[in-house]
């Protein structure tokens, strides 16, 4: 495996591994003094340094030499472009590790670095010792990609070639591993580009035997990718299958695997936002009792959380809650009691249709209220995560509930249930419960999906940012992958359909949620298969969900908002997805969307509640599961992308370009 030429060799020790010497670093800082000092320091570390004093220039340099660099170090405050924006771009387009630095060491800025996906944050004055170890980020990233590929059944071949990757070796396709190693070594970057391509492309299993350099994930390609993933189910999507479905010549499984990983991270990030929400949901859940009424508060919460996570879901949830519960007593942000509820809410959400139909008439306001409650919930990165996890959890719970529940809801939920034992259930339940509410709130729309859609779109925008941020935090917790949802054949798609539209609209809107949005999710559209068209549907409406999302936005911290938006996004995305997809798809999609939410919710629940809540959830889930709309929820999965955009928006990360191709997602380890 090891490419003899590279000398990496299997630690033969014949020649000391020069690594990390030769690491290709791009340093960006408008301060010439700092730039000069950094350059000198990096050169002393034996790295290959390229300095740049303008962010735009740096980006174009990176774009021109996709594989020309291993890591980027950037200042935060720059006149032509905000450092965080550059960070986002690099993460999405090139998937390179980025280190932020600044003389500003305030917690908020450092946090921002984390949420935007920076692998590290250095405080100026930077000392050479701090730079000596930056190579670890490169290796780590590669390892993660390898891991992802392993999980997905393929070896990920990263252009960087990971030297330490043991996994690749053990993988069936070792070509990549050796290749990677070789690549690394050839850090003489020049060679890397072509040479590495070779290495990478070695995977015979790939459709194309061409060696490919790092693939650029264009909007179209990404959309194809997302479509394939959604069809397969986030949890079940494996690079090989995705590759087959995409049927893009020249694309290797490794490319897909690494992109998938990123995508998951992204979703997780969205989920993370929802986590925050989830926390809130947590409160909801506690407050809720089996009846929908109580759930409403929770649901609202959950919705919010969910929404945050999935952008869509939150909205759905909120609506559900609003619809079902009709109460706005939301949840006190602190409610921690009911992570389960959240899940339930989710369920409700889906189910409302079934159960409540439009009877609820709960107005979205209720949901809104609830949403506002969420605001109270402390946001922060955690929440986001939560959102993601709850979301996921919910989904899992939902999945679990399946047995006794409506197919639809259960279908969707089931997957969730499996994964989220703890919080998931409640979420599901709440979802279910919420659904009714949704209907009501949706009533505006006249159908849940519609409502969801509205809500979602906004959230999506918002959520995206959240997700994005979470993505780093979560270790791929979000079960994007698990989307058992597919099993809810009965789920009515109408909801999803509307959802989709909504989602799209929201995406288009970018941000109904004032606070968080801001994200341009344009890139997220990429994720959504459908979004493109829908994006501009402004069906968006003022769904409660939206409000919910909005409410979240007001959260004190962006994170919180983000979280919310994520959930919302999720909800909305689910909704939308539902629309678009067939049952099967819906289920999957929904599940996917849900997952993040569930995850976050679950997570939240988990946090707040201990096992007890889980139990509660299961009960509730059963109830809610009956709702057919469950499927809709799953659809939302598609909206993850939207969510991501939404989240990103929330975070103020302009996801204007499609290049957002999203790196965000591939976090697989979002801790639930």
């Amino acid at each position: 495996m090891i490419n003899p030429g590279h000398g990496r060799g299997p630690d033969s020790g014949t020649n000391s591994d020069p690594f990390p010497a030769g690491l290709r670093v791009l340093v960006v800082d408008d301060d010439p003094t700092c730039l000069m000092i950094l350059e000198r320091m990096l050169m002393t570390c034996l790295y290959r340094v390229t300095k740049c004093n303008r962010a735009e220039l740096a980006l174009s340099l990176l774009r021109k030499n996709k594989h020309g660099f291993d890591i980027v170090i950037s200042d935060v405050h720059m006149p032509d472009m905000d450092g965080f924006k550059l960070l986002e771009h690099v993460g999405l387009e090139m998937d390179l590790p980025v280190i932020m630095m600044s003389a500003d060491d305030s917690k908020s800025v450092v946090l921002k670095g984390v949420t935007h996906g920076a692998v590290d944050y250095l405080i100026k004055p930077v000392r050479i010792e701090a730079l000596k170890n930056i190579w670890q980020h490169v290796v780590r990233k590669k390892r993660n990609e390898w891991n992802v590929s392993e999980h997905s059944g393929g070896s990920i071949e990263d252009t960087g070639g990971d030297r330490d990757m043991q996994q690749p070796r053990e993988d069936a396709d070792n070509n990549s591993s050796s290749v990677n190693e070789g690549n690394w070594r050839s850090s003489s970057s020049r060679k890397r580009k072509e040479g590495e391509v070779d290495d990478q492309g070695d995977d015979k299993e790939d459709t194309s035997s061409l060696k490919k350099p790092r693939v650029v994930w264009s909007v179209e390609l990404h959309q194809q990718f997302v479509a394939a993933v959604n069809q397969l189910g986030v949890d079940k999507a494996v690079p090989k299958k995705i590759l087959e479905m995409m049927n893009v010549p020249g694309l290797t499984r490794e490319n897909v695997a690494s992109h998938l990983q990123k995508y998951r991270i992204y979703l997780r990030r969205l989920g993370g936002v929802s986590q925050h929400q989830g926390n809130m949901n947590h409160s909801f859940m506690t407050g809720q009792d089996p009846s929908f009424g109580p759930l409403s508060s929770l649901n609202g919460f959950d919705l919010q959380a969910l929404a945050v996570v999935g952008q869509l879901p939150a909205q759905s949830l909120a609506q559900l809650q609003a619809a079902g519960l009709g109460r706005s007593s939301l949840i006190k942000p602190g409610m921690s009691g009911s992570p389960l509820v959240d899940q339930r809410s989710i369920f409700n959400f889906e189910n409302p249709k079934i159960r409540f139909g439009d009877g609820h008439g709960q107005t979205i306001n209720n949901g809104n209220k609830q949403m506002s409650l969420l605001h109270g919930v402390p946001t922060g990165m955690e929440p986001k995560q939560f959102a993601g996890s709850s979301h996921m959890r919910v989904q899992q719970q939902m999945a679990g509930m399946r047995p006794g529940q409506n197919v639809q809801s259960s279908g969707m939920m089931l997957p969730l249930a499996d994964h989220l034992p703890r919080g998931g259930t409640s979420m599901l339940s709440s979802l279910g419960q919420q659904q009714p509410m949704f209907s009501t709130s949706v009533s505006r729309r006249s159908d849940l999906t519609g409502a969801v859609r509205n809500g979602i779109p906004e959230t999506n925008n918002r959520v995206v940012p959240a997700t994005h941020s979470v993505f780093n935090n979560f270790p791929a917790d979000l079960p994007h992958n698990n989307f058992p949802l597919a099993s809810a054949p009965g789920i009515s798609i109408p909801v999803s359909a509307s959802y989709q539209e909504e989602v799209n609209s929201s995406d288009a809107k970018g941000g109904s949620s004032a606070a968080t949005a801001g994200f341009g999710n344009p890139s997220y559209d990429i994720f959504n298969d459908f979004p493109q068209q829908q994006q501009h549907n402004s069906k968006l409406n003022d769904w409660d969900m939206r409000n919910i999302g909005l409410v979240y936005s007001h959260q004190d911290t962006a994170a919180a908002s983000a979280g919310f938006s994520t959930s919302e996004a999720y909800s909305s995305s689910s909704m939308q997805r539902k629309r678009r997809e067939t049952d099967a798809t819906v289920v999957t999609a929904h599940g996917q969307n849900q997952q993040p939410l569930s995850r976050s919710l679950n997570h939240l629940n988990h946090v707040f509640m201990d096992g007890g809540s889980v139990r509660v959830k299961s009960e509730r889930v059963a109830e809610t599961v009956t709702c057919p709309p469950a499927t809709t929820l799953f659809h939302e999965q598609y909206h993850q992308e939207d969510l991501m955009s939404a989240l990103l928006k929330q975070e103020g990360i302009p996801s204007a370009d499609n290049e957002f191709d999203f790196d965000g997602y591939s976090i697989d380890n979002i801790p639930v």
Partner: protein, 145 residues
């Protein structure tokens, strides 16, 4: 001569004009880059002069756009920190605080002080580098590794 140079350097540290960061820079200097520290200093002073100018103009306008001033100062502080100019850095911090408090008077006063420190440091460093060059390259800040 070398001892004199060393003493001067030491006094700069003792008096707080320079801090450890400066030493870090010296560490980076080697035979391949014998005048690194001097080059960086020259660059710093050139760039900071520009910043000072911008701030001067902004203050003269009397409009007191604190955000903008704060932003300039953030930049200034970053450079000063990187080179180890501790007194200058301290003034920068004060200035920023005044900016945040919206205290125009405080800003003006601090800025005046800052310029003074900046100019003093510049002179001292120029003197130091001059001597160091005369004393011979070895002398330049090479801390025993």
């Amino acid at each position: 001569m070398q001892r004199q140079v060393a003493l001067i350097k030491q006094s700069l540290f003792d008096q707080g004009y320079l801090d450890e960061q400066f030493m870090e820079l010296e560490e980076l200097q080697d035979d391949a880059n014998p005048n690194f520290v001097e080059e960086v200093s020259a660059l710093y002073f050139k760039d900071s002069a520009r910043l000072i100018n911008n701030i001067d103009q902004a203050l003269e306008r009397g409009s007191f756009d604190f955000n903008r001033l704060d932003s300039y100062m953030h930049q200034f502080k970053g450079s000063s920190t990187s080179i180890g100019a501790s007194k200058v850095k301290a003034e920068c911090t004060k200035f920023r605080e005044y900016c945040r408090a919206g205290n125009a008077e405080g800003c003006l006063r601090t800025f005046h002080q800052l310029k003074k420190e900046h100019s003093t440091l510049r002179k001292k460093l120029e003197h130091y580098f001059q001597l160091a060059r005369q004393a011979g390259p070895k002398e330049t800040a090479r801390r025993p590794k």
